[in-house]
């Protein structure tokens, strides 16, 4: 009725799913979700929005958005998707406490994915903490296209570092920095971005993490003449484009300043399109 045929495969779904497993890895909980039809539609950089709470009507009305970390086929449940949950805040604590078999209401995949290069170019992937989650399926896609992939992973400490083992399997070179120096060099993405981006010789830099880190990566990429694709996370009341509540300050088509919805026009933006200083100073 209202859908364009060519877009059907990427339209999101709203489903009652189920927790297939919940595993603690470092400071995070990795939740594998059965959400019929959703995993098949996933492209790296998209996310899912979940409802918090079992009882209805629910006390918590805002949805909580999570990057899709992994999509896996299973024999009995179709494809599943995995999200990485930091057990903090109302939503994170609730999700992290879910057990196998618990129901969960989930909408997705949502948002615009990372743009993939047509040529087999050199790519640097930069991720901070749990926000590195979508970089792993991205790395696989890039390698399938013959791209050279290097990674920079960062976190405050070892427990909050995501996927360093996986990274060594997928990427040609991996740099790790932690705030306390417990793994790799001591430092933050914002501090090491200029050097790592320059050394990588990347044509495209993909990054997810803090706004400060993304700002530094986008600036370093621009200085280097590289493209950047940044996954910008802000709190999203609905995640589905309905409320115009999660806006990001960008440079519009005609060079004019604009605010656009992070959930439908993002979460992935070209780094040179985001007005980073405004993003970091607007009330959040």
């Amino acid at each position: 009725m209202t859908q364009q045929p060519t877009r059907v495969a990427h339209t999101p779904l709203h489903v009652r799913g189920e927790v297939l497993s919940s595993k603690r890895i470092g400071a995070y909980r990795h939740l594998t979700l059965v959400a019929p039809g959703m995993a098949e539609r996933h492209r790296p950089g998209t996310f899912v929005a979940v409802s918090v709470g079992h009882t209805r009507p629910r006390a918590h009305l805002a949805r909580r958005s999570y990057w899709v970390h992994r999509v896996r086929p299973t024999g009995s449940h179709g494809a599943t998707l995995e999200v990485v949950v930091e057990p903090t805040g109302t939503g994170g604590t609730w999700l992290a406490g879910l057990d196998q078999g618990d129901p969960i209401e989930v909408t997705g995949p949502l948002g615009r994915p990372f743009a993939l290069p047509k040529e087999p170019v050199t790519c640097l992937l930069v991720g901070e903490g749990y926000a590195a989650a979508p970089l792993f399926p991205l790395a696989e896609r890039l390698r399938e296209r013959g791209c050279t992939v290097t990674m920079l992973l960062a976190a405050p400490d070892e427990a909050h570092l995501l996927g360093t083992l996986d990274a060594r399997r997928t990427a040609r070179a991996v740099t790790v920095v932690t705030g306390d120096g417990s793994v790799g060099a001591k430092g933050t993405v914002a501090e090491v971005a200029p050097e790592v981006v320059a050394k990588s010789g990347a044509d495209v830099v993909y990054a997810t993490g803090s706004h400060e880190g993304l700002h530094a990566v986008a600036a370093a990429a621009e200085a280097q003449g590289a493209w950047s694709q940044t996954g910008v996370a802000v709190d999203q009341p609905c995640g589905t484009g309905l409320c115009f509540g999660c806006t990001i300050p960008v440079v519009g088509e005609a060079g004019s300043p604009r605010h656009v919805r992070a959930c439908v026009e993002g979460p992935v933006f070209r780094g040179d399109r985001v007005r980073w200083t405004d993003l970091r100073t607007e009330p959040r």
């Binding site: 859908q3 609905c238 484009g241 409320c243």
Partner: protein
Amino acid sequence: MTATAPEVAIAGLALASPVLVAAGCGGTGRELAALDGLTGVGGFVTRTITLDPREGHPGRRVHETDAGFVHATGLANPGLHQFLATELPWLAAADVRTVVSVAASSLGEYADLARRLGDSPGVDGLELDLATPDGPALGLFDTREPFQAARAVAAVRRDLPRGTALLAKVGHDPLRVVETARAVAEAGADAVVLGNALPALLPDGRPGGLSGPAVRPVALRTVAEVHAALPGLPLVGAGGAAGADHVRAFLAAGATAVQIGAALLHDPTCAARAAADLRGET
């Protein structure tokens, strides 16, 4: 669409269901449709459109509280011209009644909006947003006094084709709501929407509005009061409705139709499901 529906009509505008999507809570319509959120609903009300584009408030605009959402979008919208070019065509082609919510900074602008939207194919009705919290601070024509709200309605009525329904959305102000509803009805509104957010404060101290569950008992009260005072006037209730039971409560209080807003942010399918439930499909 199966027509076991309790079809309703507002000013000759037949609606497939008494359940409508409230202004500002359904994106551009496309996002809801992609999730089957528009299926079988009686109508879609756009976010409020102004003549000129408005950038809206910077930063975070919607906050969760334990009583509902506190929000202040600053009337972010692309302006009439862009709306007509990029959003209305899709709505006109979609299988849903379209009501365009509008607000203006002067009576002349109201008349302009009426002429241009009244001439546009696919516009089934206009909803005048007369009760946006802090409208005057946003530069809108001040409609807090009932006679001023009536002037805005009259300005639109004069220039709106008869076939286009005119809805006037007034706030839940318990002291003035009957007087305001009477004034806008006499000025030519076909129906009165009792809705919008209650004035509230954002956590960062900026002014905004409260929507969601906490508003429902208040909204039911204003619907009941206006219905008692003006029994012949079609009323559309809005405030905290999330499902078919809430819709039934509004209908029982005297509403002809009910808008669902904030609840869609939580569950984009809830209006479609409420409409299906009322048709006896669940």
